[in-house]
Symmetry: C2
Subunit: 352 residues, 2 copies
């Protein structure tokens, strides 16, 4: 982030300032074509935002390149298969292979393998591995076993999907988010997916830990991409278990602090509730209020220069961060592209 | 095999001797109830014979136990999955899960995973892994990785299928049949499955080798099962790459020689052609004529006491082995049960 001395401004004031100028117009005016944009992303929310971002760039800055640093803390091994839910959600969503109705998994999916595993009495069954999805995991697992890194494997898988972004795992090292829960009789650590998918985050999390993050290295190009970016965006992904886990990899948070690029975030909280998912359960676990202002403050001026909140949260202030408001419900690609436009506008604004 | 001094007898003479007595009647007469029957088996032919054998035993000797020593030389790793085609064919066939129309693979199979792998441009594609089948391979691979032996894994998989036999892999050690071929430009070694499935055994095999067999140990209970058997049967499996590979594991051939049980084989060749499969290509590779007599002689009196051939081959003689004839086409379960009856009759006969 650049050295920003701005005091937080009222949203209305900011909105007035930027009115009538699209990011493209602004970019063209400032000679900002072919921008190098970096986004940190989790799963569904991040992937949908990125689809809007690409749509916005097609119009405004078709020469722009987008590098996505994907969360791998949700990764899990199931039936010997290495599953990377967030990377795959980004890849499938941007590559046109996602099941739109749910936002994850492959479109037109079938479950013959799962049914058979069930017939064998094998578990766990709470994680729905579809047949088409399994092909991705089979190749990933095979290639990892052959000695390729997760970054190399992800690049290979993307050769098919052509997501229109460079998708980089946050790290090639194993990081797994574990959750300490108390189910009434005892405290135990469970894999994030077990808490999220099997328990629907209904059992309160006492502690959320990115196991292995301390010793993990950022993936190749991750730090360089941030340092050489023209804009860095934090999409409305889960601030604890998606963005938070990426930031837990030593070097990534520092890169965000050091980069001269503007860093802007898009709030995943609208009017005190997560746009989707169960971010509130994660925020509660780390003692943060479920509000746009609180999440903005969680990132804080050390990390972000601008914070885009929904119009209902327009009054939110974050010390040392420029806050601007815009309707943030990603109801369709046009609405999402408009959010991305607003984020890029905000990035331009905080750079000036 | 017992010490047999019988000269080979003309088939007609033998048929006359045994006429009117089923194996069950004979077994009952001789007090042979609850016989311990051991069969060495390859894939489709072996599995179908075994189904007939079980049908025959349900009628004649319901207390009999059948131990199947399965060929694992055809095993192959595909997409990181450990595939055991012959074990699975036996398990699926006897467990009611086989695709009857082809004799291998799961019934009502789908191919979503395969289609996706193809969309990734991944290979090889000549081996048709179905979705339901993949569940079996996923569990096997996972359990092997967890440290279970192939024998233990096979027993676990059979808990679901209840094949009605004890299915023992010939060895827990890796043995892979490789084939030396000359494709016109160069000589190269290919995995048996590549020669068999991809090349349809149309390129002549110069040499067939069970790689690893020399150092392999028989699976637990394999030798004991043979030594403690009341009857040992060699079904009409491929004498080179199925039965031959099992016999290549040090200790198994010796056990067949040492057992006091009668050992009888069923010819896979009828009228100079294999009943199914491409056994002729394998026999040619080892310099053996494709005839019932030649295969009987390949096993020879050191291994077998009785040799069941088709009626069209009734004139076949094998030095030191009792040859008897019976219609050998396994057209349905009744016909196959009758073949099994004839084999058990022959076993009784050579014991007398």
């Amino acid at each position: 982030m650049p050295d920003v001395n701005d005091e937080p401004l009222a949203a209305n004031e900011i909105s007035t300032r930027s009115a009538g100028q699209s990011a493209g117009q602004r970019a063209a005016k400032a000679g900002l074509s072919g921008r190098r944009i970096v986004a940190l992303a989790g799963g569904i929310g991040g992937a949908r935002f990125l689809r809007g971002l690409l749509a916005a760039l097609r119009e405004d800055d078709p020469a722009a390149t987008v590098t996505v640093i994907g969360n791998t803390g949700d990764d899990i091994s199931l039936f010997g298969l290495r599953v990377c839910p967030d990377l795959d959600t980004v890849m499938y969503t941007l590559g046109g292979g996602i099941e739109e109705s749910q936002g994850w998994g492959r479109s037109a999916e079938s479950f013959a393998v799962k049914d058979e595993l069930l017939a064998y009495g094998a578990g766990p069954m709470w994680f729905g591995l579809g047949d088409r999805d399994i092909a991705t995991h089979l190749l990933r697992t095979q290639w990892l076993k052959e000695g390729l890194t997760l970054s190399q494997v992800t690049a290979r898988l993307c050769e098919r999907w052509q997501p229109g972004v460079r998708l980089l795992p946050m790290s090639d090292d194993r990081v797994e988010t574990h959750v300490l829960i108390d189910d009434g009789t005892s405290r135990r650590l469970v894999h994030f997916q077990e808490w999220w998918v099997r328990l629907h985050a209904a059992v309160p999390a006492i502690e959320i830990t990115a196991v292995g993050a301390d010793e993990a290295n950022p993936g190749p190009d991750v730090v360089d991409a941030i340092l050489n970016a023209d804009v860095v965006v934090l999409p409305p992904s889960n601030p604890v278990v998606s963005i938070g886990t990426i930031l837990a990899v030593p070097g990534i948070r520092e890169a965000l602090r050091s980069t001269t690029a503007p860093v802007v975030g898009v709030s995943p909280i609208i009017g005190g509730a997560p746009v989707r998912g169960m971010a509130d359960a994660c925020l509660t676990a780390i003692g943060v209020e479920t509000s746009a202002a609180a999440v903005g403050a969680l990132y804080g001026p050390e990390l972000i220069d601008g914070w885009l909140v929904d119009d209902v949260d327009a009054a939110s202030g974050v010390d040392g961060v420029v806050v601007r408001s815009h309707p943030l419900f990603m109801t369709d690609i046009d609405a999402t592209a408009a959010i991305a436009h607003a984020a890029l506008d905000l990035a331009d604004f905080v750079t000036l």
